[in-house]
C-alpha cells in the first residue's frame, strides 16, 4: 500500500543548528510532494511544494527540500533554525495516476531551544 514515512518523530535542536527531516514515500507513479508545518494550536501551513522541474525547491521561512526520485525521498532542510521553528512538520504526497489522493506522514515534532 502507498505510504509516507517520516523517520524522525522527535527532534531537539539548539538555535542556529542545521535541520534535516527525512521523508520517504512508497509509490511508483507520479507524485506531487509537500511539506506542511503546524504550530502549536494552529492550522496547517504550507512550507513548500514540488510538482516538477528543479528538484531543489525553496519555501517560506528559509526552508528548502530536495526531491530525489531514485530514493523516493523529499527531505526538508534549513541551515539555521530559530526558536520560532518549534512546531510539527508533516510530509505529504499526492498520488496521481488513478489514486488521486493526498496522504500524510506521521509528522516530526521539532523543539528548538534558545
Amino acid at each position: 500500500a502507498q505510504s509516507v514515512s517520516q523517520h524522525n518523530h522527535h527532534v531537539i535542536l539548539s538555535e542556529a543548528a542545521s535541520l534535516e527531516l527525512g521523508c520517504n514515500y512508497s509509490y511508483g507513479g507520479t507524485v506531487n510532494l509537500f511539506w506542511y508545518v503546524q504550530y502549536p494550536g494552529q492550522h496547517l501551513q504550507l512550507l513548500l511544494k514540488y510538482f516538477s522541474g528543479d528538484p531543489l525547491v525553496k519555501g517560506i521561512k528559509g526552508f528548502e527540500a530536495e526531491f530525489i526520485k531514485s530514493k523516493f525521498s523529499f527531505n526538508l532542510r534549513k541551515p539555521s533554525v530559530q526558536w520560532s521553528d518549534t512546531a510539527e512538520y508533516f510530509c505529504a504526497v499526492f498520488l496521481s495516476g488513478g489514486y488521486n489522493k493526498l496522504i500524510f506522514g506521521a509528522g516530526t515534532r521539532l523543539a528548538v531551544h534558545p
Binding site: 506531487n32 505529504a92 499526492f94 488521486n100 493526498l102 506521521a106
Partner: protein, 113 residues
C-alpha cells in the same frame, strides 16, 4: 486558490449521537477529501468524496460510521455516526486543485462525552 468554509468549528456531543459536518468551497473542485487528526497525531485520510457517487473509503473507515455526501462540486458533508469518545478528534475537509496544493478548511474540533 480555494477558500473552504467548514462548520461547525467545534462541538461537544453525547456518545451514541451523530454529528454532520459541512464543507463549502468557493469554487468547483473535483477532488475533495475528509481527514481526521487525532490529538498529537498526523492527518489520516478518511475518504475521498466523489460527486454524484459513493465516497471512496480508506482502510479502517466504513460508510456506516462515516457517511459522506457530495451533491455537487462545491459542497460535501461528513457524518460521524453513533459517536464514542474515541471519535474525539479534529475533522478536516480538504480540496486539491489539479496542479496545485491542497487547501484545508479550518477544521471541526469534536469532543464526545
Amino acid at each position: 486558490s480555494a477558500v473552504i468554509s467548514q462548520k461547525p468549528s467545534r462541538d461537544i456531543c453525547q456518545r451514541g449521537t451523530s454529528l454532520t459536518i459541512q464543507c463549502q468551497v468557493d469554487s468547483q473542485v473535483t477532488m475533495m477529501f475528509w481527514y481526521r487528526q487525532q490529538p498529537g497525531q498526523s492527518l489520516t485520510l478518511i475518504a475521498t468524496a466523489n460527486q454524484g457517487s459513493e465516497a471512496t473509503y480508506e482502510s479502517g473507515f466504513v460508510i456506516d460510521k462515516f457517511p459522506i455526501s457530495r451533491p455537487n462540486l462545491t459542497f460535501s458533508t461528513l457524518t460521524v455516526s453513533n459517536m464514542s469518545p474515541e471519535d474525539s478528534s479534529i475533522y478536516l475537509c480538504s480540496v486539491v486543485k489539479q496542479g496545485s496544493e491542497a487547501f484545508f478548511g479550518q477544521g471541526t474540533r469534536l469532543t464526545v462525552v
